[in-house]
């Protein structure tokens, strides 16, 4: 793969790498550094990239693995435990995050790593289950299960938010 092909097929996907890294790492600056690391590493291996059948799947999988390595190196200090539940917003937080879109983003960020990665790859990036399965090293069935759990949790949280908002309105 020459530099032109590298730019067209690898560097062109930088926004996708960034969104995936940001979703896993939950820090835009660290995610940006991770994207640069990935591109440098891929550049060093550019001669073998020509043999890769699906560049997007391969590079996205590399991005995820690199992010998981970063988390491991940080001794998982920044990673919430997998079963951490979404904490209800207190009135002050509610005032700060009036925008429901921002609150939903926060809800997704608070999902376990695998679930937030899968829901974003599917609902933001519009990827096929097969591709997500390859990137996450899971079976398609496992992807479907995790996707369903992630969506169900978000749905519950949205409904809870909605109920509390309605209750506040009624009280007022």
């Amino acid at each position: 793969m020459d530099s032109k092909q590298f730019n067209n097929q690898v560097v062109a996907l930088s926004d996708k790498y960034f969104r995936l890294a940001k979703s896993i790492l939950r820090d835009a600056d660290v995610a940006q550094d991770a994207v640069q690391d990935l591109i440098l590493k891929l550049w060093e291996k550019k001669h073998s990239l020509g043999d890769v059948e699906n560049i997007q799947s391969f590079t996205m999988r590399s991005m995820r693995n690199l992010c998981l390595d970063i988390i491991r190196q940080q001794h998982e200090e920044t990673e919430l435990p997998a079963e951490t539940e979404y904490s209800e917003l207190n009135p002050h937080q509610q005032t700060e995050q009036k925008d429901m879109v921002l609150r939903i983003k926060k809800m997704i960020d608070n999902l376990p790593e695998l679930q937030r990665t899968i829901i974003r790859m599917r609902d933001v990036e519009g990827m096929e289950l097969k591709e997500i399965a390859y990137i996450t090293d899971l079976t398609e069935n496992a992807v479907t299960v995790n996707l369903s759990r992630a969506r169900q949790k978000i749905r519950e949280r949205i409904m809870n938010e909605n109920k509390r908002t309605e209750a506040t309105i009624w009280k007022a």
Binding site: V11, D15, F18, R120
Partner: protein
Amino acid sequence: MESINELLERYFSGETTLAEENQLKLYFKCQNVLPDHEIYRSLFEAFDAELQDKSANPTERVQPVRKKTTRIWIKTFAYTGIAATLLLTLWIQRSQESKNYAMVGGKRIQDNEYAEKYTAQKLNEIHDLLHNSMKPINSIEKVRNGLQPIHKLESVKKTINRIEN
């Protein structure tokens, strides 16, 4: 409404296809979302908003390491270009200067002051040379003037002869 409800249930169960999910996204983008579904509008808006997250262009900050041979070629072209520019500048400058020069002993002289002094010196030399060359001619003139009495003697002799005859 029923089909949207059904789609939503299948969506939350992770059973929808990409095409069906796109159908839902389109539905929540339009203005005619039913009140019962309004609660989910922000969810699909959040997905759209996340898609706008862009990476700072990594190619601006991370330039892939180029091959050394490429660098050598770039340097070669750069130096050749600089040399060619200098030569062109010199050539243009010289071609402009070449309109005003003097040739002395096969050498091109473009210093006006030097050329004037050199010319004056050479003119003086020519003057001296001519002056010296004219000296024998002046001597001949003197001889001629000196011979004038002899010419007079000739006429006196002729007069004497006429008287005697």
